[in-house]
Symmetry: C2
Subunit: 203 residues, 2 copies
Amino acid sequence: MHRPRSEMIAETRAKLITAARKAFGEKGYAGASMDDFTAEAGLTRGALYHHFGDKKGLLLAVITEIDAEMTERLAVISGRAASRWQRFVDQNVNYLKMALEPEIQRIVLRDGPSVLGDPSAWPTALNCVEVISSSIKALQEEGIVRQMDPEAAARLVTGASTYAAQWIANAPDPAATAEKAVAAFKTILNGLLVSPAATDPDC
Amino acid sequence: MHRPRSEMIAETRAKLITAARKAFGEKGYAGASMDDFTAEAGLTRGALYHHFGDKKGLLLAVITEIDAEMTERLAVISGRAASRWQRFVDQNVNYLKMALEPEIQRIVLRDGPSVLGDPSAWPTALNCVEVISSSIKALQEEGIVRQMDPEAAARLVTGASTYAAQWIANAPDPAATAEKAVAAFKTILNGLLVSPAATDPDC
DNA sequence: ATAAAGACATACGCGCCGTATGTCAATTGG
DNA sequence: CCAATTGACATACGGCGCGTATGTCTTTAT
């Protein structure tokens, strides 16, 4: 009756990741007690150490899951864009929007780098940056974007939006701050063009 | 013979901050034992809790000290620049250079946000961002830089260089990576100009 | 000179992490 | 079909590190 063991294992792993993700998101990595959230998943710390090695390993698993979701969401966005340039702008704006979510801010943007070190060195390597990087490369080949190292440009741009997102989310008036930040962000992106539009082309 | 008590206190505070700064920089915030580094300063945790409240309070004091140094270093740079635009570029490049230092990376850029939350909400509020912000404002008034919210622009630009710095410092070949990153960074800064130079104006 | 304040040390308890060990079910080979 | 082995997970143990409560001793104030 117990369907194959591998399914039980996958389910256990999923339960642990889900419980940890919730705890990390709400209380932060340091504030989340392994005893507490494993119990909440109906398990003990034994299971956790068996599957993930240690607390850091679990955090990495949680971040990998979140990053996969982010990449998927960006891919969906990329599908429906009129032009390559519009796609690039959409990707960036949506990356910024995702970075506004408290769970992503806390787990991926703040605790992640502190516990696991520089994000660009992570195994999962934040695949969503890759998405933006390849957009830039395509735009350069069409002669739309100025020549520069695509990966470097992608990291600079995502760094800017990441930082801006934290600023927005913690500002006294997030809506007004977001407006200013997105406007400035688009102006900067506009500056990447070989022939910058004199005025902002879109909303 | 013991010169005024206030001097002794200041000395104690300074000793604690120095010892903590060293420990935080080498072992990270979480890995630094308060018992260890207070002992190294010839004191105990009692003194620490008396002056700083808790471990987070001490981290804040350390970051405040580092930020003051960074601001000072930027101010010196700002003094010797041919043009306002050149000053702005110098500030950014030097901000990036500072962000390459391991101590700043670990304490200010990684552990700080994790423990104290979003940097833009810190009491010290990273004064160095303010320096860059006012440069942008001045350049806009001269009609050199495109119109946008100066603070937003400053945060985007510092976010980009901060992120890029971590990428560089942790890259397998930091020198080559730095070259690509700085080149791309200058191209992006160039895009802020009302009349962008066709080719990069300086080295 | 005595009282009050404050700087700092000592002592205690508790939470939390990692490891070592144990148990029981599920697979595998004959 | 039945050992023997593997591996998933629980339990038990030890230790470290933080925060607090308390104590002592010096300095300032009156």
